[in-house]
Structures are given as structure tokens and as C-alpha cells.
């Protein structure tokens, strides 16, 4: 047992938090291939080869994915996975064929660093050069975390600054345009929540305050308000029900101004995991719940029962080891060992009690049927690329789960629910996502039938190259 495993288990026991699954990494760095620089000019549209099954009839549209795609110059490299330049990939499915393309978001950060062929700017886990010219958060906006469609544009999202607007057909960058001049450079997380009617909610965190964004379906601003949330917790994702905004406040708190930013956070394992619930119509109407300490990046989605109980899923781990250690070291050398996140359901009762429902399933990048955003639903899918590469579909109503395990050498990434045309049930959907096949050194696109996940992909296409790992994506129907 190495030090990090001991630390993890001790931490988990002491906190009474989640027991974490063993996570043994191969001796070589399995992440290495996924954090190599993408070609500077990107990938021109290229047909992917069908290697298994065949394209399901009726599946037509594009999967867009975003993630860090540039990490190294000859004499310098980013200090953290999260700081690579945003690289947007498109998997366009049409007439049973898939074409892959990719392009870097044309950010100020990327332009300056490419011109000088070195890392200049500080980032989340990158120190940057002394006196790097930074006058606003958007000067260091990496546009590297997620994508969404709004008003006919594709927005590349970061979390500390503005969305970067792109052309969804060409992946050309349009640029940053503030929602309103007095709100320029305000943070906008990579996890906006889109109601079934199209309205977009998002938050942006800055210390113990957040801005709450409300946008129309076309991406225009309806309202923005700044509220105090009491503590400067790391806030990457959140949740929304029909009536409430849910802001989880984990005990990983920014309490020191230092560079890089990640070093300013402290893990307070003795403090509770607070959950702030706000009324959508009156942000002063709020309740706070508490759970034992745990760390999370991502929620699935939230809903409320008729008796007022609120439920939302999240992928929780015992501590912040991944973000403070592994996501740094993976750029440099070995990936080390880190706790897996377990899929859990936070249950917030109307009487103020809170509890966790465990799934026994481990993984990350939880995804749900986005037509049910904020509404009751049963299913959530997670991707596990730690011990074994598995896609797991959890049914909270029945407590059952099913999964598909990829062969060795596959790093499984986020898979999205894509509804089948004309169908409305949750299971009447495809799960569409990507793996990095480290043996074939190629990126693969998979389509599963959500009703028969364990049968394996109904279709798999393979590119002729290994594109960088990504974080999050969105589906745009043809």
C-alpha cells in the first residue's frame, strides 16, 4: 500500500465519508497519450472507420466535445491538466457515417503563447511567468471545459470567465462578447443548466460570492444577480430543479491568495459539505443542508418530489487528491493514485435532514436525459476509467445498475443521452461518447442503446489518430 492509498483510507475512515474503491494504475502513465498536444492547426474533417456494428437508423447530428488539447512548448509546459488550451472536437454523424474534426478555440491566451512558443499565463494549476500581462480573467480564459449551443452559436465554456463564441459548422472562433457591458469578464461555469423550455441558468463563483445568470433560450441575458454564499468553496458544478437552485459548498475552500490558484485551496475534512438551496424566484429565500465532508466535481441533475424532498446525484470522493496532485502529475510523469468517485444521490428532506444514497458504482462525468433537466427521472450514466474502463447506467428508482466494460487499453470518457427520434422514455435513447484506445492509439466514438447497455456498443468508429482526452460535450441534432 503506498502513501496515497493510506492517506485516502485514513481520510475516509476519519471523516466517516465514502469508502473509496481501490484504484490501481498501471506503472506507465496511461494518461500520457491523452495529454499530448493536438496538431496546432487542428484536425480537418476526416471519416472515421466503422470497426464494430452499424450506425443506428435515425441517429443524425453532431457530438461536440471540449477539453484541454495543448500542454507543452519546447521549454515549458502547463502545470495542470485543466490549463491546456481548449480544443473543440466534432463528431458529425450523417447517413451512417462519422466525420471527426477539431480546432483550438482562438483565445488571447493561445495566440500569445503560440506566438512566443512558451507558457506565459498563470492558470488554475499553472504558475505562469512573473508579471504575465493579466488585466481580466478573460485574458487567461482557456475556453477548455465544455460546450453548449445557444442562439445558433457553439459556446466554448471555461469557468472563470466568459463563454467563447464559435461557429458550430466550421469551429471558427467568433470571440468573446459580454452579455452586458457591465458584466464583462464575469465567471460563467462550464455547467449551465437548460430547462426543458430552453431557459438557461448558470452561476459563476468568485470567492464567497456567486453571480446567478438567467438567459433566454437564444442566449440573451434575462437577469444576473450577485449573491453571497458564505464560503469560497471550489464550485465547478451545481444543480437546478423546477423551483430551486442548488449550490453545493464542499469543504475545499479557497482561503489563500497565491499562485497557482489551486494552491490557495485547503481541504477541511473536518467541516461539513454544505448545500445551499435557493428559491428561483427569490434568492433571499434559502435553506442550508449538511452532509459529511466529501469532494466532488460533477452533479448529475436534480429534481423535487411532491413532498418537497430534493434529490440530486453527484460523483463524490473522499478528498481533493485528484485535483491537487494527479491532474498536475499526469502532465509531467506518472499519474500516481487517486480515489475513485462514487456515484451518490443526495437526498434533502423537507424537514431539513440530508442523507446520501449510495450506488456502489464508481466513475465520473455523470449524464442524464437532458429533456428531463430539473424533473424526476430514474437514470444516470457514468464513465469509469480508473481501475477498469466501464460505462455504468444507474437506476435510482429500482436500485439496479447495468454496465459495459471495455477491453483493456480503453479510457472511457463522458457519454451523452441522445433521445431516439419520436421517443420519450428515458431508455429510448442512445448513449453517445468517446474512448481513447491507448493500444490502437486512436480515438473511438461509440453508440450504445440505453435499453441494452450491457450488450455493448451498437456501433463503434475509430479515427486514424489519438485526439486529446476531453471533458464535456453537447449533442446537436441534425
Amino acid at each position: 500500500m503506498n502513501a496515497s492509498r493510506r492517506e485516502l483510507l485514513a481520510g475516509a475512515a476519519a471523516a466517516g465519508a465514502l469508502a473509496a474503491a481501490p484504484a490501481a494504475f498501471a506503472s506507465e502513465n496511461p494518461w500520457g497519450l491523452g495529454v499530448e498536444n493536438a496538431p496546432a492547426e487542428g484536425y480537418a474533417p476526416a471519416t472515421m472507420r466503422l470497426v464494430e456494428g452499424r450506425a443506428p437508423r435515425g441517429l443524425a447530428g453532431s457530438l461536440y466535445r471540449n477539453g484541454p488539447g495543448w500542454f507543452r512548448y519546447p521549454s515549458s509546459s502547463t502545470g495542470h491538466w485543466f490549463d491546456g488550451d481548449g480544443f473543440i472536437q466534432r463528431f458529425a454523424i450523417e447517413d451512417g457515417r462519422v466525420r471527426h474534426s477539431g480546432k483550438f478555440a482562438d483565445t488571447l491566451k493561445r495566440r500569445v503563447e503560440m506566438q512566443r512558443q512558451q507558457i506565459i499565463f498563470p492558470g488554475f494549476g499553472t504558475r505562469g511567468q512573473p508579471r504575465a500581462p493579466v488585466e481580466s480573467p478573460d485574458d487567461i480564459n482557456a475556453a477548455n471545459t465544455s460546450v453548449m449551443m445557444a442562439g445558433g452559436e457553439l459556446w466554448a465554456l471555461w469557468e472563470g470567465g466568459s463563454p467563447t463564441r464559435m461557429n458550430p459548422d466550421t469551429l471558427e472562433t467568433i470571440g468573446i462578447r459580454p452579455f452586458r457591458q457591465d458584466l464583462a469578464s464575469m465567471p460563467f461555469t462550464a455547467h449551465p443548466k437548460v430547462e426543458p423550455n430552453g431557459r438557461i441558468w448558470n452561476i459563476g463563483a468568485y470567492g464567497p460570492r456567486v453571480i446567478i445568470w438567467r438567459l433566454a433560450a437564444d442566449g440573451t441575458l434575462e437577469d444576473a444577480q450577485v449573491i453571497d454564499i458564505g464560503q469560497a468553496s471550489y464550485l465547478h458544478d451545481w444543480a437546478v430543479t423546477e423551483r430551486y437552485l442548488i449550490i453545493p459548498l464542499q469543504p475545499w475552500v479557497h482561503d489563500r491568495m497565491t499562485a497557482p490558484m489551486v494552491d490557495g485551496y485547503t481541504w477541511h475534512g473536518d467541516r461539513p459539505f454544505r448545500i445551499l438551496v435557493l428559491d428561483k424566484n427569490d434568492y433571499t429565500n434559502r435553506r442550508t443542508y449538511e452532509l459529511p465532508a466529501m469532494f466532488y466535481f460533477h452533479t448529475g441533475d436534480a429534481w423535487e418530489d411532491s413532498d418537497g424532498t430534493i434529490r440530486f446525484d453527484l460523483c463524490a470522493s473522499a478528498n481533493a487528491h485528484f485535483v491537487t496532485e494527479q491532474a498536475r502529475s499526469m502532465i509531467q510523469t506518472d499519474s500516481g493514485e487517486t480515489p475513485s468517485a462514487e456515484l451518490v444521490l443526495a437526498v434533502l428532506h423537507a424537514d431539513g435532514r440530508a442523507e446520501l444514497q449510495r450506488s456502489g458504482q464508481f466513475g465520473e462525468f455523470p449524464q442524464t436525459d437532458r429533456r428531463r433537466q430539473g424533473l424526476a427521472r430514474d437514470l444516470v450514466v457514468i464513465a469509469n476509467d480508473r481501475e477498469v474502463s466501464t460505462l455504468s447506467l444507474m437506476n435510482w428508482r429500482t436500485g439496479a445498475s447495468e454496465s459495459y466494460t471495455f477491453g483493456p487499453g480503453q479510457m472511457v470518457q463522458e457519454h451523452l443521452f441522445v433521445p431516439k427520434p419520436g421517443a420519450s422514455a428515458e431508455r429510448d435513447a442512445w448513449l453517445v461518447g468517446v474512448t481513447l484506445n491507448t493500444e490502437a492509439r486512436a480515438t473511438e466514438l461509440h453508440v450504445f442503446d440505453a435499453a441494452r447497455l450491457s450488450d455493448g456498443p451498437v456501433a463503434t468508429w475509430r479515427s486514424r489518430y489519438a485526439a486529446p482526452l476531453g471533458f464535456h460535450g453537447t449533442w446537436r441534432s441534425a
Binding site: 488571447l108 495566440r111 500569445v112 512573473p130 508579471r131 504575465a132 500581462p133 493579466v134 488585466e135 481580466s136 480573467p137 459580454p178 457591458q181 457591465d182 458584466l183 464583462a184 469578464s185 464575469m186 465567471p187 468568485y206 460570492r209 453571480i211 450577485v226
Partner: protein, 145 residues
């Protein structure tokens, strides 16, 4: 605050002008480019690091902006080291507007086109020398990159 500073400058300028008429004097034309044709630029000139840090300008100008370029001239000033800071008051309210988290939302700039790092440019970055005779100093406003 800047408005106060500009008022103060006017007083300082009037009081000190006679003493500036020395042999080694210079003139400088500060040329601004990259402007949106609206509002005004509020510009300050400093002649020491202490003054720059403390916001104690030795001269200032309020320049209406009607085109992409503008300029300000200062005559009969002693040769030596100076720094300039300015902001483009797009809406003409006399303030450098910020977003709710304190980040400026109007363009600002410094001499040498110096750029700050999580704050204003330092004196060392912004300082330039005025030699005897005529000088020209160009500053790109709003988009030096």
C-alpha cells in the same frame, strides 16, 4: 477619485507652471489609438514612482473622443522620466466602471503599452524618458495584444 485628482492637477499645474520654464524643457504629444468613438479619455501624467504609486499626478487631461485616435500635448515640461495612465470613460460618467467582482469593464492603458499583472502596470514597466525638444509617445487603448 480621478475627478478629484484632475481638479487637483489643475491647481498644481497653475501653481507650478512658471517654475517649469527652464532651459531643459520638453514637449510631448501623447497619441492614442484604437479608440471607440465615444465618451472621453481621462489621462494622468506622473513624474516619480512615489507619485505613480500614490496616484499623485503632476498633470491630467480630459479628452473627448470622437474618432479612433486622439492626442494630448504637454509643453514646457522638464526633461526626465514620466509615466502615463489612462482609461477610456466610454459612458462619460467620470468613473472607471467595473463588473460586480471589481474587474474593469472599460479600456485602460499605460505608457509603453505596459500591461499589469492582476493590477496596474508598475512604474518600472510604464516609465519613459522625455528628452529636450519634441517627443511623441503612442499608446494603444483597448487591445494592446
Amino acid at each position: 477619485m480621478l475627478r478629484t485628482a484632475l481638479l487637483a492637477l489643475a491647481v498644481i499645474g497653475a501653481a507650478s507652471a512658471p517654475t517649469l520654464a527652464q532651459a531643459d524643457t520638453a514637449s510631448v504629444r501623447i497619441e492614442l489609438t484604437g479608440l471607440q468613438p465615444q465618451g472621453q479619455v481621462l489621462l494622468q501624467v506622473f513624474n516619480s514612482e512615489e507619485g505613480y504609486r500614490g496616484g499623485n499626478a503632476i498633470a491630467g487631461r480630459q479628452i473627448p473622443i470622437t474618432g479612433p485616435t486622439a492626442s494630448a500635448e504637454f509643453n514646457d515640461v522638464p526633461t526626465g522620466q514620466y509615466a502615463v495612465r489612462l482609461f477610456h470613460d466610454l459612458n462619460g460618467n467620470g468613473e472607471l466602471d467595473t463588473n460586480p467582482f471589481g474587474i474593469p469593464t472599460e479600456p485602460f492603458a499605460f505608457s509603453n503599452n505596459a500591461r499589469g499583472s492582476f493590477g496596474p502596470a508598475s512604474w518600472q514597466q510604464a516609465v519613459f524618458t522625455l528628452n529636450a525638444g519634441e517627443n511623441v509617445h503612442q499608446i494603444a487603448v483597448g487591445g494592446a495584444q
